[in-house]
Amino acid sequence: MDLLNIIQEIEKVDPEFQEKISPRRAAIKNITSFGSKVAVAAMPFALGSLFKKAYAQQSTTSIVAVLNYALTLEFIEYNFYNVGLNGSASAGLKATMSANEVAGLNLITTDEMHHVTFLQTVITSLGGTPAAYTAASFDFTAKNTFPTVFTDSNTFLAVAETFEDTGVRAYKGQAPALLRNKTVLTAALDIHSVEARHASHLRMLRRARMLAAGTAVTAAIKPWITGANDTGITAVNGSYAGEDNVMQGGVNVATGLAAYNTIAGANATTSATQAFDEPLDMPSVLAIVTPFFK
């Protein structure tokens, strides 16, 4: 189970990690043992504050832990695209896509490969041990939730989109842990925006397919995220939980800004959820990606 694997990975570079979070360690294990939806839903907040407390001050080990977390997500993305586009069954999948669609996906694959290499290099340069995964580490059907992920390109693009949107939220969630760190925070932000570009592109691919298939324009997915899960796939609700937030910095941006409401009119609430992407904390993201690990 990858959540525990990740904690073990962090322990490799930070032997004191267990002590830092020991009061809650039993609870962490319980997430995987019982998988109660209530527990999973309730825990991220407790864990989030726990991580914050454990790493209130940045140390090299805490930075390496964040980078290994990012690297793990990049491994998922890179292997997903690489299996889909270059694996043994890729010809069948690509036959259901246009040349333009494949060309764009190849660009994304290359970016993800570079992100993996980059993070491995940085982690090593900091004296850490980079997380190591291969295609064999993953089950991209997510325990048969997406059985056609490598045979049906609609499913492939939908899963790709949720990986990218989740990745954006994951990097955003770690920004405060890298506060004021010119080198590492800036690098993380420079990856974060690339993931957002990928997400936007994938969303437009899906939108084009939906419109071609006769889906109403208003119902089709957009380059930006509208409300809490606009993908039409309930299995990925966790990736979009909280994206319908309209409270920003203590201001209700859907109703509290007169000049904006004058212009946005009836679409003020819709646009308000779109205009701000929301972060996700590490435990929430790990819970989302867990089914994709063997």
Binding site: T110, R180, A187, V194, A196, S200, W224, Q248
Partner: protein, 239 residues
């Protein structure tokens, strides 16, 4: 360290390639002018009765300065899209689907602008006067080229200023906005040419896959071609 090397010579692209170099030169010259005005402000501060001689805005220092910097860029973007959507050519130059999405982009940018204005309160800079004389709002090609340029510039600005922010709350808010700007940027880039959502002019596609971030000085230099109001950024944090 080589892996962190950024290309700092990327320039804002214009739709008309031949006019691009002229525009860039003009932008930098204009920014040089802004710098002179900034010196003027400090001279005026020493003699406060002359302060009103400075016809511009002062971003401030610390997090307020960075937030005002973002507010200035959001003012520019919002003003641009308001003009795009209200132009009579909008309905004929863009498909129904594009009109739908670009109108939402306008809403996002107006919301960003108004959010910063509310968050900054009395610390907010005044409304900027924009100059879009270089942009042909009746031309689809001109509109999407400038939209792409403004969005790419915005992303590089937020990425480059993130480490200067001291408050984790403000950093997260900036993060919430920058990824939406990146979504806009990818959308417009793909409108300009398919599969350019991560072009080599904005992302180090052949190297580490990182976006090129920019300093406030660089970004304001670029933006000054479209902002008539002088902007004094002298007290923005640099580390």
């Amino acid at each position: 360290m080589e892996i962190f090397t950024k290309k700092d010579d990327q320039l804002l692209t214009s739709p008309e390639a031949e006019s691009s170099k002229t525009m860039q030169r003009r932008q930098f010259l204009r920014y040089a002018g802004a710098g002179t005005a900034a010196v003027g402000l400090f001279a005026a501060e020493a003699c406060k009765k002359d302060r009103n001689d400075f016809k511009g805005v002062y971003l401030g220092s610390g997090d307020i300065g960075i937030l005002n910097y973002a507010y200035a860029l959001e003012q520019l973007e919002a003003a641009f899209y308001i003009q795009v959507v209200s132009n009579s050519a909008f309905a004929t130059q863009f498909s129904a689907d594009e009109q739908n999405l670009i109108t939402e982009v306008r809403n996002h940018e107006v919301l960003h602008r108004e959010f910063f204005k509310a968050a900054l309160g009395t610390s907010a800079i005044a409304n900027l006067t924009v100059n879009f004389s270089a942009i042909n709002f009746a031309s689809r090609a001109s509109v999407i080229a400038y939209a792409k340029a403004f969005e790419d510039l915005g992303v590089s600005a937020y990425n480059g200023a993130g480490y200067l922010i001291q408050s984790p709350t403000y950093l997260t808010l900036a993060g919430k906005i920058v990824s939406v700007e990146a979504r806009h940027a990818a959308y417009f880039r793909d409108l300009v040419a398919p599969n350019t959502f991560v072009g080599q002019d904005v992302v180090n596609v052949a190297g580490n896959g990182l976006e090129y971030d920019k300093t406030p000085q660089y970004v304001l230099g670029m933006a000054s071609a479209f902002i008539t109001t002088k902007i004094n950024a002298d007290d923005l944090p640099t580390s």
